[in-house]
């Protein structure tokens, strides 16, 4: 929990990793900080996409009945206190995750399709190809207002060499975020690095020092741009394209610096929250710290779009402290062995419990006229339903948060067979004020998110 009590003057507690860290935050400053970004007094919509790998045990996930009278299933029990602020969505498909003639490799395809809805190209080489993911479609628009257009986070450092899954590049299962069909965005797993992305890496709590650092950064970027121009002379087209990537990146950083400099220096007083020391020793502490950072990032309006991979697709984390010493992916091929199914259900429920704690953090954080959760859409799910059989249809999905009044929870909605998952993304993005024509295989927005 980041903000445990609401209107204390400047000090509140951050419980991260055993020690309580004094955090002069932010409530008093929040209005001043976020004020320039509020449109007509309304809070901006924040979006997070939380991914769990290897599918879930569907019989313990999917509620039996639909509508508002549904009963939370065993796996969803930890979400009881949030029942009215979330939707359970059934029947959404990632048709393009299926082999469609490409043979094995369902884990790679699951990761690559989840937010893109595009059938990825089967390759282990440099010519990877998927689609732009929904979070990145959103970030290109709503990210214009924030220092960081989006954050890509993960909890599992498992980048492998060679191919990862039956002829697919590891890029497909390492991330769910793609800024272009050829550019997977690698997730950051170290909370320390996330903190540094959000707040800088040194003696930066002082606005004057921060402004000075920004000015120096700008001079250095001017310098490298001139260097790149000199290098570029006389190079062939391919080399120029490579340098072009570099210059584009330089320009992007310059724009961020300009945004930073435009902010009122008194309003961007940053917390003296200590930098996280690194990757915490347990999964639970790690995910908790990441949720704290996500909450701060949303609260301070440093970004409005975040993806978090709770596990890498096909990942093999073990969960000894809940009595599951088995590697997750290995276990997910349970062959209907009831011991294995029970253990998988434990993992699913453990993940859902983490989601519940994130929702509680957002609910407890004041934002404008309500809570952060009121102004968010938190999507949680997997791109496989039955992990044993690699099923890409009828995916387990939760949408939590109020979406600024446009998402009404408390229901289990089952969509008709063959509804693309990407239709949900079109609707979510619409709530955030982004109206792309299409995402992947979308056929139109889905209904019932708001009407009762």
């Amino acid at each position: 929990m980041i903000i445990t009590r609401k209107s204390l003057s400047r000090r509140t507690l951050l419980r991260g990793f055993g020690t309580a860290v004094a955090l002069p935050f932010l409530d008093s400053m929040t209005p001043a900080m976020a004020a320039p970004n509020r449109i007509g007094g309304k809070s901006p919509v924040r979006m997070a996409f939380l991914y769990v790998p290897n599918g879930v045990i569907m019989k313990d996930w999917t509620p039996k009945s639909e509508g508002s009278g549904y009963e939370l299933t065993k796996t969803l029990q930890p979400l009881a206190e949030h029942r009215e602020r979330m939707l359970v969505l059934s029947g959404l498909d990632q048709y393009n995750g299926q082999s469609l003639g490409d043979g094995a490799g369902d884990h790679a395809r699951a990761g690559a399709t989840w937010l893109t809805g595009v059938h990825p190209k089967k390759t282990q080489g440099a010519d990877i190809l998927a689609g732009v993911s929904a979070d990145q479609v959103a970030a290109k628009e709503v990210g214009k207002a924030t220092t960081l257009p989006s954050l890509e986070l993960g909890l599992e450092d498992n980048r492998m060499v060679g191919g990862c899954d039956s002829g697919y590049s590891c890029a497909y299962s390492n991330t769910v975020a793609w800024s272009s069909p050829t550019t997977p965005l690698p997730p950051e797993i170290n909370p320390r690095a996330v903190f540094e992305r959000l707040f800088g890496d040194g003696e930066t709590t002082d606005p004057a020092a921060r402004a000075l650092a920004a000015r120096q950064d700008r001079s250095i970027l001017d310098f490298v741009r001139a260097d790149a121009a000199r290098i570029g002379m006389g190079l062939g087209a391919g080399d120029k394209r490579k340098l072009g990537e570099y210059l584009d990146a330089v320009r992007e950083i310059e724009i961020r610096i300009q945004k930073l400099e435009k902010q009122d220096p008194n309003a961007i007083a940053l917390p003296t929250m200590e930098r996280p020391a690194g990757v915490p020793p347990t999964f639970e502490e790690h995910v908790d710290l990441m949720f704290d950072l996500m909450t701060i990032a949303f609260q301070a309006d440093l970004t409005r779009v975040i993806t978090l991979m709770i596990g890498r697709e096909g990942g093999n984390r073990t969960y000894r402290n809940i009595g599951v010493p088995d590697a997750h992916h290995g276990l997910s091929h349970h062959f209907n062995d009831s011991t294995k199914i029970d253990r998988l259900q434990k993992i699913d429920q453990h993940h859902v419990k983490q989601l519940a704690s994130f929702l509680a953090k957002l609910q407890a954080t004041k934002d404008g006229d309500g809570s952060l959760l009121d102004h968010s859409m938190i999507m949680y799910g997997s791109s496989l339903s039955d992990g044993n059989r690699h099923e890409h249809l009828d995916l387990p999905t939760i949408l939590a948060g109020g979406g600024n009044g446009r998402v009404h929870g408390g229901r289990h909605i089952r969509y008709k067979k063959g509804t693309p998952m990407t239709n949900l993304f079109l609707s979510m993005l619409d709530v955030a004020g982004v109206q792309p024509e299409k995402i992947g295989d979308s056929t139109g927005k889905i209904e019932h998110l708001s009407n009762l």
């Binding site: 043979g103 094995a104 440099a126 950051e188 490579k242 570099y246």
Partner: protein, 765 residues
Amino acid sequence: MIQKWIWGLATAATLLSQPAEPSAASAQQLLTTYCQGCHSESNRSGGVSVQGLKADAVSDSGMTWEKVLRKVRTGEMPPLGLPRPKPADSTAFVGWLEGELDRSAVAKRNPGTPLVHRLNRAEYSNAIRDLLSLRLDHAASLPADDSGYGFDNIGSVLTVSPLLMEKYMATARRVSRLAVGTVKSGAAIERFTPGKGPALDGSDDMPLNLRGGLLLNYHFPVDAEYTFLIRIRGNPVAKALPPKLDIRMDGKRFKLHEVVIDPNEEAQITRNIELRLPMKAGLHSIGAAFLTENLKVESGVVSRRGVGAAPPVNNVSVDYLQIGGPFNASGPGDTESRKTIFQCRPSAGQPETPCAQRILSTIARRAYRRPVTSADITPLMSLFALGRKDGGSFDAGIETALRAILVSPNFLFRVERDSASAPGATAHAVSDLELASRLSFFLWSSLPDEELLRLAEQKKLRATLPQQVRRMLADNKARSLVENFAGQWLHLRNIPTWRPDPDRFPQFDDALRSAMQRETEMLFEYIVRDDRSILDFLNADYSFLNERLARHYGIPNVKGTYFRKVAMNGEERGGILTHASILTVSSYPTRTSPVLRGKWILENILATPPPPPPPNVPDLEEKAANSAKDLRAALEKHRASAGCASCHSRLDPLGFALENFDAVGKFRAVEDGAVVDASGSLPGGIHFVGPSGLKKVLLERQDYFVECVSEKLLTYALGRGLEHFDLPVVRQIRREATAKDHRFSELVLAVVNSVPFQMRRSPER
């Protein structure tokens, strides 16, 4: 040099191809008779048509001819069951075709056009180390690089994103601050967990009888006080002696801390041990681990990590180490980095500019890997002035300019130029300076050192290439070949994150994990250092073991944690195919797979990777994997179908020969009550049993293996995927290495002397 190379190639090609028999005409005949039925313009089986190929003009369709060569040479084509040429005719055809292709490569040399090349993370780290005498682990601050063609140093794959640029900016800030030793650094805490960093076993900084701890090389930014928090965790046991934690700084015992535990208190305990110490700026090693002798219970049973049920000892270990600081900083200290950077100090009252200029010119020349001009230095001096003003000191000015050097495209990219007047699409030699960078990034994954740079500036590098290559291979920096080349070629980089099923392989622990990786690394290092034949990879009658690994292998009389060379005379072990590392990464976490192991061998030993499985193939193996017998039967049935047989008749037998090793590389004569059947038969009636049988078959085809290593090494050296026009070069490297007993240095020299390494092709204009 290039002339010499070409002459060498021409001679070799003439000698080896025996061109008189058969002629282009008989080759054309063979192609029409045996290939064109399926590979016609209308059928295009496998996407290949040989219709229209002209045997008297091989160079017109080099790409297709190379495919023909590979398939016929390995006997994959024509497929089993269809009419095949007589073996002698096949052999003659292969010899003729190879000769034709190699001859046309000489006539029409194409060294390829490598793209501008961003330094990858390993190269960046090494460059910082060599430029600023600063050893830092950038794994936490820079994202891992994507790989292609099996390696993560491929120019076309290494991109720059805004995120990466942001990380470069932040890393440059951190590096320059640490290197200069800026005193004002704010205090921060960093946490380290065991398992990363150098291995405890066999380090000179720690005694031998330690366990359950970590050893860390940490760069302290300034002279100051720092806090150390060591968290330990474990299960106390009644009657056990109190465990003793040995805390060491730079190899010297700082404190022997006795952990008093009341066995009744909890199921699992944690303790924090906190220290606050003054430290000198620079790199120090910090170690904390438990004395093994204190893990004995009174009965005298010694702990064995991770074997079987929990042993009756205080099973405690270091959970993590946290370093905080700096506090009460007293100054930048006298670090190696400062000595490297500050070659001069401005004298009081004198202008600072000349000294700043000298410092920045020296660093920029090394960082940019070429002589610098005023166009490079003038803007750096403006940044020096800016930093000088903002930070109020000479050092602060240098720090700001250093930051700029570290994000400059001159540092981050390797750029090679074609002269402006050169016509498009022609081959020309790269400059001496470009060659110096190619060499140093190939053999050291880093910047050229002073000697290379000086020779290149004086244009003397090409004249002294063999000496330079040998000098570089003897240098410690050549260890990068182990980490980056061998680590990726043999998939050793996957071992640290490999997780075998703990129920089936309870004996698999971190000690075994690191030992198996170390064994293969040490074999590679040994072959490099002692300049052994690369065939030792396949059939070494020695290996490198410590007690943990020897126990895994069932080899007696190897005691202690350090590794030593051990003779391997038995049938079971010897060569990488019997290394636990390779056997593990080519298995599933739960069980072995003959298909995966066969694929691993085809890809990494024989350089004839199978095509990916065709569409809609059900995962046969998974269902049949209940017992070894079922699996073998299912795979046999599988091979009975013609569509599957073309690949699986080559894949499966290779893997079956290794079935005596389980999914973590332990030898087994019996599996699930049945005697393991380790026999395999390749098409053409080649029958073999077990690892020694397999090795014999592979050694009979040693040219394939030598070409495989050549291909991997050339890909890594050039940082680009190989094209059909590179394959004659691969064969030439094989021939040169073979003529010199396959010695590793000769293979490297053959790569260095090759046309694509020495030259580049200007882009189309």
